[in-house]
Amino acid sequence: MISAAIMEWERAPAVDDELDRARRRDPDALTALLMRYQHRLYRYLVRMVHDPAAAEDLFQQTWLRVIEKIGRYDPRRSFEAWLFTVARNLAIDHLRRQRTESLDDPGSPARPPVSNPDALERCLADEQVRTLQAALAELPGVYRETVSLRFEQDLKLEEIAEVVEAPLSTVKSRLRRGLEALRQKLGAGFDREDRP
């Protein structure tokens, strides 16, 4: 109850108004939302499907789906969580079609990122960052998704639970196991660098 009150207080009236207009399919409001969430949404999709071209396609499909479904979005809930849920469902359909990995099966390893990494990553000289990115990409789907939603998309745990349609306890355990697997992959090399 308290957290709901805080959320309400945190959300600026301007954003509320924008969501209201978006729900009535106002093109300007929808464009503003598209611009605001473009990087986070794209990042999430790349993380999910490992393929920039497919992520671009899913990105566009997500916004077309948003237009269709936004009338059913409940404005008392987090728009981010709703948006990522729409994107996630499309990504899962895509992965199912690909049949390369299942998000619901923690045992299946993810393909390492193929094709061309994006410009920002390519320019990175920092070895540690590259190692971290590679380790993250190799995590099983469910863990990779949860870690990414928390650290790359900055979602709250409750919002992640909404997106992945799982109880909070499941999200917590996926996050913990994901981080443990990540640390195991990174091994002593990562720990050593942070020792004084």
Binding site: H39, Y42, V46, W63, L120, V129, R176, L179
Partner: protein
């Protein structure tokens, strides 16, 4: 010892800002008296800050603009589809309303119009005339809408 193991399990979540208030208190209390967990907590902390601080990839240039164009086209199409549905509903209504005078006319010609319907021939003609005018207007609107739709399709090609 049990406390040590349980708190150790909580450390990755603590680094992710994923603990509730009571769990956080418990962890802090234990860290104050357990050097091994305190060291462990620093490791998780550095992993979490590396994750949070990692450079973030951006959406490719032009993706948002392309998406916006498709979104606006889809909105147009949506509006048009709703118009078409409205016209279709109007045409159905028209068909139904024209069926009634035709039936009445038939019965009038056969001379068995029920007395309760007390419609004279002049009233019936007026109704038929109005229906015909309405049909022409509806047909005109439908032609305009279909023409507009073709234009949209061309624009989106």
């Amino acid at each position: 010892m049990n406390e040590h193991l349980e708190v150790k399990e909580l450390l990755p979540l603590a680094a992710s800002g994923a603990l509730d208030a009571s769990e956080r208190r418990r962890v802090l209390q234990h860290l104050a008296e357990c050097a091994r967990c305190a060291a462990e907590e620093r490791q998780w902390g550095s992993l979490a800050s590396a994750l949070a601080g990692a450079p973030r990839s951006q959406a490719p240039a032009g993706l948002a603009e392309r998406t916006r164009a498709r979104m606006l086209a889809a909105l147009d199409e949506r509006t048009e589809r709703r118009w078409n549905n409205a016209v279709l509903a109007g045409l159905l209504l028209l068909g139904w309303s024209m069926g009634l005078p035709a039936l009445a006319l038939l019965r009038l010609v056969r001379g068995d119009l029920p007395a309760s319907l007390d419609i004279d021939a002049a009233g019936l003609l007026a109704w038929l005339a109005a229906s015909t005018v309405f049909a022409w207007i509806t047909a005109g609107v439908a032609v305009l809408l279909i023409g507009n739709r073709r234009e949209t399709v061309w624009r989106n090609l």
